[in-house]
Structure formats: structure tokens, C-alpha cells
């Protein structure tokens, strides 16, 4: 299923057109350079639907770059990204988002001039259709749609337990709650595939517990999650599978326990043993 980096896109198509079910999300030979720095070096991986996959690696391993390339913020230099059988590599971010890939950010990136509720309502953007003139004249279909997404956004806030703070400005929330708002905003997109960039960074222990429960709830709802994280206990507890990046390349992949004892992984994190 996983195409090696030498294979051309045509071959991938050929493999895909077999009667087997196309895999949910697949990346083949993904490369991204920033000047002389190779942030991603022909990364090839495959993610099954309905799983929690973690992407780990030391600082500068290319994890966030991977998310940025998948969501279209940076176009890839080389390689293919298949989402539900469709090549999305090189599409604009808003098109990729509207196909059902949601994401959160390492550094919040919330809309600071808006209330919590409005932030989540922005997440509903790709699923709604009101145009600029309809919005200005407040025609009845726009008002109906507005009411619907307001209810839906409140529902998402209830999920993260912040429905009472819906009218707060973002600046009034502590860091942990802001991270949750970021997740609620991504959930409002009703994505099929959710990329979480360091969701537990800066959270307290009880907040992490809450987050774990939330993520399992999302899994039950049928979402597929890709989590980029540094917090190893969290990763080990939650992942079905772990993928390890180092220096922009995939160095290991497998069940959490396998990865934990993988020599290459230990080397990447702790350095080589001096013989």
C-alpha cells in the first residue's frame, strides 16, 4: 500500500485502482526544503481511518512542517498526498480544509479580536454558503444559517466544557482553555481528519486527562487523529501507532511499545552511545 519514494505518481494510482479499499490518508515521497535545510526528506506514510496516530521526533525533526505541508500552508517540493483517494498536494489551504482536514496550532493562532464563540463559528466557514451581499442585507436564509452554526458552535463548546465562557474575549482565557478553543474551532469544521499540533504543550495534569477523554470521544465519533506531541506518557497512552521523524525523514513506525525500544529512536532522542 505504501508507495516507496522511487515510485512515480502513476504507479501509486495503479496501486490505488486495485479493488482494495483506498487508504484513508497516504503520503508518498514528500519533500520540503527551506533554502538549504531539508525539513522533510521523502516522507512516506499511511494512516488508517478511525485511528489515533502520533508523530514524534526531537526538535527540528520536521513534525510541524509536515502538518503545514499536508494542510497546504507550504506547497511540497516533491511527493504526493492522498486524502480519501484524491491527490491534495499543492492545493490551496482553504481547499484542503474544505475537503475535511482540520488542524490546531502549536501556538494557538486564535482570532484574538473575537469572542470564544465567534472563534468556533469561524470554524463553520467551509460548511456554510452565505455570500457577502446576503450577509449585509441579512436575508432570511442567512439568518437561519447563522442561527444553525451558532447552535452548532455552542455544541462544540459544550464538548470541551467552555459553553459558559462563550462570550469571553480570547485574551481572558488561560492557556489550557485556549488550546481547547483551538480544538473546538477545528471540530466546528466537522473534519474527517484532525491534525493536532502539540495539544498538551503547557497543560496541567488534570487538563491533560480531560483532553485524553475528549480525544477518545472524538475517536468514537469516527474521526481520525494525527497528533504531534512531545509528551511521551501522553503519546504512549493514547496512540494506536507511532511514527518517528528525525531530520525530516521517517526513522521508525509501529506500536507505541515497539517504538519505545527502537534503537534508532533512542539514538535520535538521546544521541549515539560512545563505544
Amino acid at each position: 500500500m505504501i508507495a516507496s519514494k522511487e515510485q512515480k505518481s502513476r504507479t501509486v494510482h495503479f496501486v490505488r485502482s486495485q479493488p482494495t479499499i483506498p487508504s484513508f490518508f497516504e503520503v508518498a515521497g514528500l519533500c520540503k526544503n527551506f533554502g538549504g535545510i531539508q525539513a522533510l526528506n521523502s516522507v512516506t506514510l499511511c494512516i488508517e481511518e478511525g485511528k489515533i496516530i502520533s508523530l514524534i521526533g526531537p526538535n527540528g525533526a520536521g513534525k510541524t512542517t509536515f502538518i503545514n505541508v499536508v494542510t497546504g500552508i507550504f506547497p511540497p517540493d516533491k511527493g504526493e498526498i492522498y486524502f480519501q483517494g484524491e491527490n491534495i498536494a499543492g492545493l490551496s489551504p482553504h481547499l484542503i480544509a474544505s475537503k475535511g482536514i482540520g488542524r490546531t496550532f502549536q501556538f494557538e493562532e486564535l482570532f484574538s479580536s473575537m469572542s470564544v464563540l465567534e472563534n468556533v463559528m469561524v470554524g463553520c466557514h467551509a460548511r456554510t454558503r452565505s455570500g457577502i451581499l446576503g450577509c449585509g442585507f441579512q436575508i432570511s436564509s442567512v439568518r437561519k444559517e447563522e442561527k444553525r452554526i451558532r447552535d452548532e458552535a455552542m455544541e462544540d463548546l459544550r464538548l470541551i466544557g467552555l459553553e459558559k465562557k462563550s462570550l469571553y474575549p480570547i485574551s481572558a482565557l488561560p492557556l489550557g482553555e485556549r488550546k481547547l478553543v483551538g480544538i473546538a474551532r477545528a471540530l466546528a469544521m466537522k473534519p474527517k481528519f484532525l491534525l493536532l499540533d502539540e495539544p498538551v504543550g503547557g497543560l496541567a495534569a488534570h487538563e491533560i486527562e480531560k483532553l485524553v477523554n475528549l480525544l477518545f470521544m472524538l475517536l468514537e465519533k469516527g474521526l481520525t487523529l494525527l497528533i504531534v506531541e512531545h509528551n511521551m506518557p501522553f503519546v504512549m497512552a493514547i496512540s494506536h501507532r507511532v511514527i518517528v521523524l528525525d531530520g525530516g525523514a521517517k526513522i521508525a513506525e509501529g506500536f507505541p511499545d515497539e517504538v519505545k525500544s527502537n534503537e534508532k529512536v533512542i539514538e535520535a532522542y538521546l544521541g549515539k552511545e560512545v563505544s
Binding site: P93, H94, R103
Partner: protein, 333 residues
């Protein structure tokens, strides 16, 4: 906790004040100044949305105002079309031009966009002056007929007063609806975080262009009405001085809220009138420059003490009052 773009109580207060003013006073001087407040207010609201909400640093707003004034003025002076059709043709023309120019230059950001739009402002101002055979050149276009709509001719100040305020409040209503809707949230989102905005499925160039064209068209209609009211246009009226004036209004009133820009227009226009009225006699030599000195000092004071303009300052005052009030109530319990 305060929804920054909602304005319903203010909106009703403004409507009532606007409607009752002609019944309180019949002074055509006051009505005239209020017409200027409405026209400049329409411009300042549109420009405030671009600067403060959409994060588009466009300085070409006086250009759209001027093009609207000139197109409607020229077409109706030469009796090619009726004044009403002239306004519509002007609006369509400005929509087209701002679309064609906006599509490439809105990809620029910050200062670069400011430079490009400022160049546009200067080019259009020069061109209006140089195209003497069409525009009347630097001396201006004279003999513009009054506005007539299916036989009804707008002649008195009161009629123009209601017309210009209808436009101004219409734009205010439209834009405040817009800001609290799907498209408005999209427009506000990309100023806060472009990367998050894109990841939420928002097509940023599309919405930048839409709001740019929309506010340009509003400015164009204001310009057309302006030219029918004063019956005369001159390239110098739509150049750098107007730009500075609009920026002054936004800084003084505060662009964070829509009514802030309108308040800025009110304060700026009236302050200028009062300075000329009272200080003009004391300082006759400096007649032209004297208001610039006052506005310069005022802008500095506002920026120091009310960085979000008068509206932002008033809002903060209310907020701190309500907090003190809350604390007192809690203390009583």
C-alpha cells in the same frame, strides 16, 4: 465580553438624532455641515473596515470617492444619462476598476499595499487634472445639475441631508450586519491570523477583494451624491488632503467600532468648522493652516490618551464603570 461590532442601541440613537435635527433647526449652515459629516462618515466607515477589520492598508479610498463624483458629474453635465443612472454607472465603473486593480495589488501586504494604493491615488488625481477636455482640468468640473430621481429634483439642503444620511446609515447598517456574519467573521479572521484563517477553509484573496470592491462602491456612491450636492468637482478635492482627513477621522473616532469612524467624521468636520468660525477672526493670517495645527495636536493627544480613539476610550470608560459597579454591588451583599 462586549461584542465590538454590534451597534443597535447606538444605531437607533443616531437615527432618531438624524431625523429630528431638521425639525429642531432650520439653519442651512448646520444642515450643510451635517451633510459633509454623513458623506465623509460613509468614507471613513468603509476605510475603517479596510484598515481595522480586514487589515487591508489601502489609501486609495479618496480615489473611489473622486471617480464616483467625476463619472456621475460628467455623465449628467453632458446630459448623456440622467443623474440617477450616472450614480449607478459611476458605481459600476468603480466596482470594475477596483476589481481589476485590487486583484493584483491586494496580494501586497502592509506598507507595500499602502505604497501601491497611494500611487493609485496620485495617478488618478493627476489624470483628472490633465484630462482637461473630459474632466474640466484643474479648474474643476462646473455646472453639474442637481440630482433628480424620476422627476423629483433634489434642491434644498434638507433633501440632500436626508439623502446623504440615508446612504451613510444604510452603509453603517449593511456593514455592521456584515461584520457579524459568516463573511464578516472571515474578513476579521485574516487580520488576526492568516494561517489559521486559511486552515479554516477561508479563501483570503477572494474575501479581501470582495470587501475592497464593496467599500469602493460605497465611496463611489457617496462621491456621486457629493458632486450633485455641491454641483462642482475639482481634482484637488480627492487627493492627499482628503486622505489625511479620513485617517484623522479614523484615528480620532476609533476604527475598532463602526460608529467610531462616524463619530470621528462628526468631530473632525465640526471641529474644523468651529475653528474657522471662532478662531478665524483671531488668527486671520493663518486661516488655512490653523486647523492643521489643531488636528495635529488633537491626534497626538488622542493617540496618547485614547489609543483606540474616542469610541474606544468611551467603551473602556463604560467597561471600568460597570466593573466598579459590579464590585460595589458585591460589596453590598
Amino acid at each position: 465580553m462586549i461584542n465590538k461590532t454590534s451597534l443597535s442601541p447606538f444605531f437607533w440613537i443616531i437615527i432618531i438624532a438624524v431625523i429630528s435635527l431638521p425639525f429642531i433647526t432650520s439653519s442651512s449652515y448646520i444642515l450643510m455641515v451635517m451633510i459633509f459629516v454623513a458623506i465623509y462618515g460613509t468614507l471613513a466607515i468603509g476605510m475603517g473596515i479596510l484598515l481595522e477589520h480586514a487589515g487591508i492598508f489601502s489609501l486609495a479610498h479618496p480615489t473611489w470617492f473622486g471617480l464616483g463624483a467625476y463619472v456621475a458629474g460628467i455623465l449628467s453635465t453632458r446630459q448623456i444619462v440622467s443623474p440617477l443612472v450616472g450614480i449607478i454607472v459611476g458605481a459600476v465603473f468603480v466596482a470594475l476598476i477596483s476589481y481589476l486593480i485590487g486583484a493584483p495589488i491586494l496580494r501586497l501586504r502592509g506598507y507595500y499595499l499602502a505604497c501601491a494604493t497611494f500611487a493609485l491615488l496620485l495617478i488618478v488625481e493627476m489624470s483628472l487634472g490633465q484630462l482637461g477636455s473630459i474632466t474640466g482640468g484643474h479648474e474643476g468640473l462646473t455646472g453639474i445639475p442637481p440630482l433628480s430621481v424620476v422627476g423629483f429634483i433634489f434642491r434644498t439642503d434638507t433633501q440632500y441631508y436626508f439623502l446623504s444620511w440615508a446612504l451613510c446609515l444604510g452603509c453603517l447598517w449593511f456593514l455592521s450586519n456584515l461584520l457579524n456574519s459568516r463573511v464578516g467573521r472571515a474578513i476579521r479572521s485574516f487580520r488576526d491570523s492568516e494561517v489559521a484563517s486559511m486552515s479554516m477553509g477561508i479563501d483570503i484573496p477572494k474575501y479581501k477583494l470582495q470587501i475592497f470592491v464593496l467599500t469602493s462602491v460605497m465611496a463611489s456612491i457617496a462621491g456621486s451624491i457629493f458632486s450633485f450636492y455641491i454641483r462642482f468637482t475639482m481634482p484637488g478635492m480627492f487627493g492627499f488632503p482628503l486622505l489625511v482627513e479620513l485617517l484623522t477621522m479614523i484615528v480620532i473616532g476609533g476604527g475598532k467600532t463602526l460608529y467610531g469612524a462616524l463619530l470621528g467624521s462628526f468631530v473632525t468636520v465640526w471641529l474644523r468648522e468651529l475653528i474657522h468660525l471662532y478662531l478665524g477672526k483671531i488668527l486671520p493670517v493663518m486661516k488655512a493652516e490653523v486647523d492643521a495645527i489643531f488636528f495635529g495636536i488633537l491626534i497626538i493627544l488622542i493617540l496618547i490618551f485614547m489609543p483606540h480613539g474616542i469610541s474606544g476610550g468611551v467603551e473602556r470608560l463604560f467597561y471600568s464603570w460597570s466593573k466598579t459597579f459590579d464590585r460595589l454591588q458585591r460589596a453590598e451583599k
